[in-house]
Symmetry: C2
Subunit: 261 residues, 2 copies
């Protein structure tokens, strides 16, 4: 099977014009099939503030009300997505920006929760692997904004880490998939404040050890649980590291690699 | 050759939720290949006002400065485009929303003018007919936002009427294209204030007559010149009429049909 990179970039890269430009150049130079999933960054929050739309938080979770959904659709699927695509085109990388409604690429449903109403937040049901592979086979890099739909006309705000994982899982039927989570740190760290303490490799066995010894920063646990879930469902390898080091993440000389035994 | 409808909807439909929903239902029911090109409506202007971004007008022409480009990219390629796509999906019409940067669908250049600087406004150079027909052949309706790119990383605000015409022209190499301009009036009117005075058919010969007798409302002349240019370059038929009457525009019982002799 051909290799496919599914790469997620976080908000800190999107908020930094120079870092984003340099990342897109690196991404464009990847010769294998590739998918980019982007988050939102601070733009949506800033726009909401300017428009006087208050962010509702319930138990620390942001609620996506109708006005917030409008803003994230504009910012994620409009401004960020189209600027990334134009940036890739400028680097001679043919790219296409989609949200989950486009071509029914990512079907989701509004999150049901016994107590909380998260608002217009989607949980993923299905990835349209036929559509996506059709584009990849035409050497088009697909760029996903974290907005899905429910096939009933409702757009839904959806976690970008989850979208990346679900795409990686779905596409692993057709490709050897490597899932890369790039963020502001150099990898999974033994000391959250010391970027030189990257754990180069985590396998299921030493993950349990590290967790039981509290060696892993609590904020990383959901990302790692996600990573192991992806491995279980067919993804070859998950790499976590710094977006600026994309080349090194791919060749294995930077970041944390998460693989099966 | 297979039939293809290229349908442009104006801002008055986009601004009216009920009219848009009813239009999308009609559009979804078209069995032939179809492309939708949408304009912007008042949303972008309202958002600019709320954010305190002043609209610059030079000689009555709106200038697209960097802040305005950001707004139209968010509103046209984000909010409007994705809601239209989700609405079509809900009507069992598989649709994909693109701007000109996506898949290099519409290449343009920043408008050059000896005196005026229009800002980030694009004039179309090329339509990627291979990409678009590839999607159409998979029974995907393509929905275009009026934003193009210059292959150098710059997004450009581009007239939706022009995009519709250029797409119709380009695609006429591969399909029997009918170009439909839908707007708030019932067609080309003899009396601009009387919706019952629709001219049912205009050919090049009677167009000259009508023009010389000043029978055609000045605001319609650019649209009609566009229509005849499209016919000259291979488009089968141009129909101008009311978006609410889409079915009747297609079967010829409403609107103004513009055809060659």
């Amino acid at each position: 099977m051909a290799k496919l990179y599914v790469i997620k970039i976080g908000g800190n890269i999107i908020d930094d014009e120079a870092k984003l430009a340099s990342f897109l150049k690196e991404f464009a130079s990847i010769e294998e099939k590739k998918i980019l999933v982007h988050g939102g960054g601070k733009l949506a929050t800033r726009l909401a503030e300017k428009l006087g739309i208050e962010q509702q938080l319930v138990d620390g979770r942001r609620i996506t009300d109708a006005e917030t959904l409008k803003i994230v659709t504009m910012v994620y699927a409009g401004f960020i997505n189209k600027n990334i695509v134009a940036g890739l085109q400028a680097n001679n990388c043919n790219a296409m920006g989609l949200c989950g409604a486009d071509g029914d690429a990512i079907l989701a449903h509004k999150r049901q929760h016994p107590v909380l109403d998260y608002g217009f937040v989607g949980d993923v049901d299905a990835i349209n692997t036929e559509l996506i592979s059709g584009l990849l086979e035409k050497n088009i890099a697909v760029v996903f904004a974290p907005i899905t739909h429910d096939q009933q006309g409702q757009l839904l705000n959806t976690n970008a880490d989850t979208i990346a994982q679900e795409i990686a899982r779905g596409m692993s039927e057709l490709y050897d998939v490597q899932l890369i989570y790039s963020f502001e740190k150099s990898g999974v760290l033994l000391d959250a404040n010391d970027d030189t303490t990257v754990i180069p490799e985590i396998k299921p066995s030493n993950y349990q050890q590290l967790k039981s010894k509290n060696k892993i920063f609590a904020g990383m646990i959901p990302k790692l649980d996600n990573a192991f879930a992806a491995l279980k469902s067919g993804v070859d390898k998950v790499i976590i590291g710094k977006a600026e080091n994309l080349k090194e993440l791919i060749n294995g000389s930077s970041g944390t690699t998460i693989i099966n035994e």
